[in-house]
Structures are given as structure tokens and as C-alpha cells.
């Protein structure tokens, strides 16, 4: 009987705790959707630090002009190819909701929420197990479902007394949860009992950000932004499971508007994702990475007496979590358009991104469509 206790205890301790991700972009704590609006995504992220509806720089909200509400829906159609097969998935994300309110001539207040790391995935894995006698071999199906994300809720305040200079600060609350359901399914219910476990993991953390935007001339603009991460706690019920530092984020951008009706922008950013490594209990490695993007936004044709804005861009970045110890790189080509509605009191923004990710012998292609609606009440 003592042996039984030893076996049970050992297997409890040694049990794997890794999650089944099923995609390169979903390794670790999930996919960083980026906190960019459809407009910024359409330019490969180049415009993000100048875009009032993106979360990358708190200074940018000072350029909003009028009070605005923004909502974005971004489904991703993903295809993962490995040597053993392919998987096609559809992930529906609502990555961004933002409200910006100018207060007087100089101040602007913004409240927004964006998806920081989306972990939603579902996998099933079959394996042969001997259950009972030595000849009783059955196929066990292991199902793993993870739903939920960590979200970044930012309250930002920006100041600007002229179009040449903007500065802003932001306070971030990172919160969210992952609901994990794990099942072992056995074929014959008269002999075997299928098991199921569920767990809720919640996250809480804080960060602060600052951004500065300078336009020394009418054709040139610069922006720098930084976010300093505080502690991020992962809790199960009342128990803190693990803690980590939220990754620091730095970015610098430039925008050139010397071509009439067009804006060319570029952005480079760095994320210290490795600070999240301590939130992995199975040793999934997080890598610091660069995020580089550039794009153009230009006035396009008139439709129904409205000027359609066209955008195009490209982006490359390192995703936070690696696969088999190898960095996962993401290269994206994007295109988009903006269409003013109801006498410019609203606008529809659309971006289509073709993302390819690669690590080891795994290839992943994602087609992300972003639909944004901005309303100025």
C-alpha cells in the first residue's frame, strides 16, 4: 500500500503542466494582437505612435480632434502546416475599444482596452494507453481548451498647446483570465471513465507609459514612447500561482508628409518579453524582440463624394514565446482603407493583414481582417 502512495505522489509531482498550444502564434501566454487600430495596422504599424486610437503612445490622443469612440473586430483565419498535417482555425477577436475626450484647448483624456495576449485555443491529441491488463490497450483522446486573454486597460492623459508638440502619460491595468478545460476521453463508457478538469487563472498587473510627439516641420514628425511594466500576478482563486514583470516597451517613430495627400511612416519598437518567462511552468522560453514596421497612407479615389483613404505597409516582429527554444518570427503585409461616414462624424476603417510565422519546421499563415468603426458623438 505504501508503494501506491509513492506512485501516486510521484506522478502528481511529475505530471506535465504544459499547455497544448496548437499554433506558433499561441505559444506561452498567447498572441499579442498589438493594441493597434485598423488604421495603424493598415500601415504595418508605422502610424501607430501617431494614431490617437492605438494604445502604443499616450501622446497620440492629443491629436484626436474631436471626442471619439472606437470599436474594432479582428477575426484571424489561420493555417498551420507541420510535417504531420495542417490545421485551419478561425479566431474571433475584439482587440480594441477606445474612447478619447478632448478637455479644453490643451488636454485630452483617453480610456481604452486592448487585447494584450490572447491564448484562445483548442487541441485534441490521441494516444494509446494500457488501461488495466497488459493487453487492454485503448485510444485515449486528450482534449485541451483554453479561452481568454490578458487585456491592457489604459487611462491616458495628453497635453498639447500646438500641433508641434504633444506629450502624454498613461496608467495601465493588465487584467484578464484564462479558463482551461482539460479532458481525457476514453472510448467505452461501461469500462472506463472519461475525466475532465477545469481551472480558472486570472491575471492582474500594472504599468505606466509615457509618450512624446514632435513635429518640427509641417512635413516631418517624430514620436517616442515607452511603457514601464510593473508586477503581473497570475492567480488561481485566492492563490498567487506565479508572478512576473510586465514587459517594458519602447518605440520610436517617424512620419513624413512631404508628398501631398500622403503620409509615410515607420516605427521601430522593442519589447522585453523575456520578463514573462517566470509565468511558464513548463519552461516555454520568452524572447525579447524587435517590432519594425513601415507604411504609407494616401488619399484615394472619391466615392459618394467622400475621399477614401488607402493604406499599405509591412511589418516584422518577434513573437513573445518561442517554439522548441527557437524564436518565432512574424512577417506581415498589410493593406487597408478608411471611409468617412455621416459627414465625417464617423468613419469605417478596414485592414487586411497577411502574416506568416515560422519556427523550426512549422509554418503558419494568418489572414487577419480588422473592421473598425469610429464615431464622434
Amino acid at each position: 500500500m505504501r508503494n501506491l502512495f509513492v506512485v501516486a505522489t510521484t506522478s502528481l509531482v511529475c505530471a506535465s503542466v504544459a499547455g497544448a498550444q496548437g499554433a506558433l502564434s499561441l505559444q506561452g501566454l498567447g498572441y499579442p494582437s498589438g493594441g493597434m487600430s485598423a488604421r495603424a495596422e493598415g500601415t504595418g504599424g508605422g502610424l501607430a505612435d501617431f494614431d490617437a486610437l492605438s494604445l502604443t503612445s499616450p501622446a497620440a490622443i492629443a491629436g484626436v480632434g474631436t471626442a471619439s469612440l472606437f470599436f474594432q473586430y479582428s477575426p484571424e483565419f489561420r493555417k498551420v502546416t507541420t510535417s504531420s498535417g495542417t490545421a485551419n482555425t478561425t479566431t474571433a477577436r475584439f482587440p480594441l475599444i477606445a474612447g478619447v475626450l478632448p478637455m479644453g484647448q490643451s488636454w485630452t483624456l483617453g480610456l481604452s482596452s486592448s487585447t494584450f495576449l490572447d491564448r484562445s485555443t483548442e487541441t485534441s491529441l490521441t494516444r494509446l494507453e494500457t488501461v488495466g491488463g497488459t493487453t487492454d490497450t485503448v485510444t485515449v483522446t486528450e482534449q485541451n481548451r483554453v479561452l481568454g486573454a490578458i487585456n491592457d486597460v489604459r487611462l491616458a492623459l495628453a497635453w498639447s498647446n500646438s500641433p508641434k508638440f504633444r506629450i502624454g502619460v498613461g496608467g495601465h491595468v493588465f487584467s484578464g483570465s484564462n479558463r482551461i478545460t482539460f479532458s481525457d476521453l476514453f472510448p467505452d463508457s461501461s469500462k472506463y471513465i472519461s475525466t475532465s478538469q477545469t481551472s480558472n487563472l486570472s491575471y492582474a498587473g500594472f504599468a505606466a507609459s509615457v509618450g512624446v510627439e514632435v513635429h518640427p516641420s509641417r512635413v516631418l514628425g517624430f514620436s517616442v514612447a515607452a511603457r514601464k511594466g510593473g508586477d503581473l500576478r497570475a492567480e488561481s482563486g485566492d492563490t498567487t500561482v506565479a508572478t512576473a514583470r510586465l514587459p517594458d516597451h519602447y518605440s520610436a517613430s517617424v512620419m513624413f508628409e512631404g508628398i501631398p495627400g500622403a503620409a509615410i511612416s515607420a516605427r521601430v519598437a522593442h519589447d522585453s518579453w523575456s520578463s514573462l518567462s517566470s509565468l511558464s511552468t513548463s519552461g516555454i522560453q520568452a524572447f525579447d524582440g524587435w517590432d519594425i514596421g513601415a507604411g504609407i497612407e494616401a488619399s484615394g479615389p472619391r466615392l459618394m463624394q467622400r475621399i477614401v483613404t488607402l493604406r499599405a505597409g509591412a511589418r516584422t516582429r518577434t513573437l513573445p514565446f518561442g517554439f522548441n527554444g527557437e524564436k518565432v518570427k512574424e512577417n506581415t503585409f498589410a493593406a487597408g482603407l478608411g471611409f468617412p461616414l455621416t459627414r465625417d462624424r464617423a468613419s469605417f476603417e478596414f485592414a487586411a493583414q497577411r502574416a506568416s510565422r515560422k519556427a523550426a519546421d512549422v509554418n503558419e499563415r494568418g489572414f487577419i481582417l480588422s473592421f473598425g468603426l469610429r464615431v464622434s458623438p
Binding site: 505530471a15 499554433a23 490545421a87 483548442e122 488495466g132
Partner: protein, 410 residues
């Protein structure tokens, strides 16, 4: 164009609303196994108590009556009580003054018939004031002065519905006297056995006769009814028909576990299982391994279905015989065995663990009973080695389990 764009955007939005997160196609490469492997462990000393106990369900509750005459091996009879006979035969209230073509309609399980030759079924008056549950008192009444009638049948005449004609005067005399008509049926012949569906189901025996010779007048039908014991209505309800055992193979010795037979017995097994195994791991399969002992006494190649039930009796019920009557089925799975076979048999108990996980052993002892699905209706007895046998043949409990996975962080 704008309308086209808007329509296209709306279509794309709608079509992408349904999520499909399943990445199973690439799991061989991208999904590490999360759950631990199944651990199999056989607990040699997990059986704390095993014993054969009598089934209380016995007399009268059997779904089928066994009528058997198999020489020195098996002799069983069927008793049917018609304690309430009508005095009149129509709505006008005309008294019954004669009885014509009286018979008892019996529904037979023809698949259960053993014996190819003709059989004679004799009917006896088994009315007595003796104890209702006394088999000896009833058996003593199968004597010539109680003889009512007999009827012979060839094998071909034994169809699903059998009309067993009895003496008209015997029925009439009971009607006129107001006394009960209690018929005892006995088969005679070289070797015969069959099952008659009892009143526990919808196809019970029926007494039918004509009160007047006129065939246009509907027959009078009477269903079995028992007025005694007067102080136990539940028992009187089941004693409308029952099987009386005159002779049966001897039960298994005390050191051997026996299931079924006459009188019907069950096996009660109580386990001593570590709480940690039930509470802290996922039991995916549990099997009670029993060593079957050959019992060639009767129909060794016939199939018997055994079922395991979880004992619900709490710790306060210390008598295994009583505890074994308070049980509940947890799985539709049955174990098919033949009395003459021998060797290891597996009784699946995984579903019992789902119940045991809900309550501590102090509240719900880890005990099961193994019983025959034809308990009380079949004379066949299945035998197993008990804990008193040599170590290699004793009952053992094999448990397959997985460890709980600490879900959460990747």
C-alpha cells in the same frame, strides 16, 4: 461601389463570427501531452471483507416462475393464488352456478424450455393456513388427496401462450364456498424445465372459465390475488405467484463465494482503498479480479449475467446481509459467465468510484454486491474464490488512474 464594399464587409464579418479553435491537425508536432500516462496498480489486499449473503428479494418477487423436474438435481414448483373469485358473471348480478372449460393461461418463455420429450403438469390444491413463506408446508400439499388435475403437453404444444385446463368442479366449489383457489403446479417427466412469466410483469397468469355453456356469453377472467398475510400487504402482493423449491443443488460452501442459485445469494465485497487514490487522482478504470470456480452441478454451459451494484448502506448497517440489500446499479454493463467455466473474471467498477468520490468512506463504505440478473428465477450458481483461498486466487482490485494535472500556466 460603396454598397458593394459594405455588403462584402458585412459578409466577411458575419462569416468570421463562428470560431473554430481546433488545431488538432498539427498536434503531433505542436501539442505536448498534458495529462500523465495511465498508471495501473493491482491492490492485493484491498478486499477487506467478502462473503455470500442471502437475497431478501427472493420469494414472490421473481419475474419468472420456474417449473422444473430434473430428477435428483432440481425440482421446483409454481404456486398461483386466486384468493378472490367472483360470485357473479355479468352486470345483472347473475350468480355463477356452473363452471365450464376452466383453464389457467400461462405465458411461457419458450427459450427457457429444457427437455425435448412430453411433459405432464399436475395441479394441486395448495391452500393452507400455514405460514405464507413456508416452503415445506406448501410442498407437503403436493399429495394425492390434494390433486386437482393434470395435463400433458408435447414439446410442440408448449407455445408462448399455454392454456392449462383444470378441473371445473375445483373452481366451482371455491366460488360457492368463498374460499381461495390456490393452485400448485408440478411438472413430471424424465427431465423438464421452463419459465412462466409471473405477475411481477404484464404477462402474468390468468384464470379463465365460462359461467354458462353459452359461447356468446363472455368468459370470466380472474387475475391472481393473495389475501394473506393480512398484516403485510407488500408480501401478500408479491405472493400472488411464486416458485417453491423442492430440490436444488447445494449452495457453495462457506469458503467459496456464490452468486445466484436457490435460495438466491449475492456476493458482498467491502474494500479498503486509500482515500488519496479516490480523492487526489482520476480513476479511469477499476476492475475487481475474481477467480471463477467451475460449478458443474447444473447446466454448466448456460450463460448467467452478473451485475455489480454499489452498496448504499451506511456504516450503521454492520450486517453484510442487510447491507447487501441496499444497493444501486451504477453501470449497465454485465458480466457473462457460465457456471462450468473457471478462470479469472473481471468485474468493472469504475463507475462506483465516481460515487465514492462524492462521499467519504465514513459515510459510504466502499462496498459492492455482485448479483445475478435472474436472481430468484434461475437455479444456476456462479462460484468464485474468496479471500480464504490461496493468495493467487483471492479477489484483487486493479485500479487504473491518471494524476490530476495542475492546469493553468503554460
Amino acid at each position: 461601389m460603396p454598397r458593394l464594399l459594405a455588403t462584402a464587409a458585412l459578409f466577411l464579418s458575419m462569416s468570421s463570427c463562428s470560431e473554430n479553435l481546433d488545431s488538432s491537425g498539427v498536434c503531433k508536432v505542436l501539442c505536448p501531452q498534458v495529462g500523465g500516462d495511465v498508471q495501473n496498480i493491482t491492490l492485493e489486499g484491498a478486499v477487506a471483507l467478502d462473503t455470500s449473503v442471502l437475497s431478501f428479494s427472493g420469494l414472490g418477487t421473481e419475474p419468472r416462475l420456474l417449473l422444473a423436474a430434473r430428477g435428483d438435481t432440481l425440482d421446483t414448483r409454481a404456486v398461483i393464488r386466486f384468493d378472490s373469485l367472483p360470485k357473479t358473471y355479468n352486470t345483472a348480478g347473475d350468480s355463477i352456478k356452473s363452471v365450464d372449460s376452466a383453464y389457467i393461461q400461462l405465458q411461457i418463455d419458450t427459450l427457457s424450455i429444457k427437455g425435448t420429450g412430453p411433459v405432464t403438469i399436475e395441479a394441486y390444491d395448495v391452500d393452507t393456513t400455514a405460514n405464507d413463506t413456508s416452503s415445506d408446508a406448501i410442498l407437503a400439499l403436493f399429495r394425492p388427496d390434494r390433486f386437482i388435475s393434470s395435463q400433458s403437453f408435447t414439446r410442440e404444444q408448449l407455445t408462448d401462450t399455454l392454456k392449462y385446463f383444470i378441473d371445473n368442479n375445483a373452481v366451482l366449489s371455491r366460488i360457492q364456498s368463498g374460499g381461495p383457489l390456490r393452485i400448485g403446479l408440478r411438472a413430471t417427466g424424465p427431465s423438464f424445465q421452463m419459465h412462466i412469466f409471473s405477475s411481477e410483469g404484464p404477462q402474468g397468469p390468468i384464470l379463465s372459465f365460462r359461467a354458462v355453456p353459452d359461447t356468446l356469453t363472455p368468459r370470466v377472467t380472474v387475475v391472481p390475488f393473495s389475501k394473506t398475510p393480512t398484516d403485510d400487504r407488500i408480501l401478500s402482493a408479491v405472493l400472488v405467484d411464486y416458485t417453491v423449491v423442492a430440490k436444488a443443488p447445494p449452495p457453495a460452501p462457506a469458503s467459496v463465494l456464490g452468486v445466484g442459485g436457490f435460495p438466491a445469494r449475492r456476493v458482498y465485497v467491502r474494500f479498503d482503498i486509500p482515500d488519496s487514490l479516490i480523492d487526489s487522482s482520476n480513476v479511469v478504470r477499476a476492475t475487481l479480479l475474481l477467480n471463477q470456480l467451475a460449478n458443474p452441478a447444473l447446466d454448466p454451459t448456460d450463460t448467467v449475467r452478473l451485475v455489480a451494484q454499489v452498496v448504499l448502506a451506511g456504516k450503521a448497517v454492520t450486517d453484510p446481509t442487510k447491507a447487501a440489500q441496499i444497493s444501486i446499479g451504477v453501470s449497465p454493463d454485465t458480466l457473462l459467465v457460465k457456471p462450468g467455466d473457471a478462470g479469472e473474471r473481471s468485474v468493472e467498477l469504475a463507475r462506483a468510484f465516481t460515487l465514492w468520490r462524492l462521499q467519504k468512506a465514513d459515510t459510504l463504505p466502499r462496498a459492492i454486491v455482485i448479483q445475478s440478473l435472474t436472481e430468484g428465477a434461475s437455479p444456476l450458481e456462479i462460484r468464485f474464490s474468496s479471500s480464504e483461498d490461496v493468495a493467487a486466487l483471492r479477489p484483487r482490485l486493479r485500479i487504473s488512474y491518471t494524476s490530476r494535472v495542475p492546469l493553468g500556466l503554460p
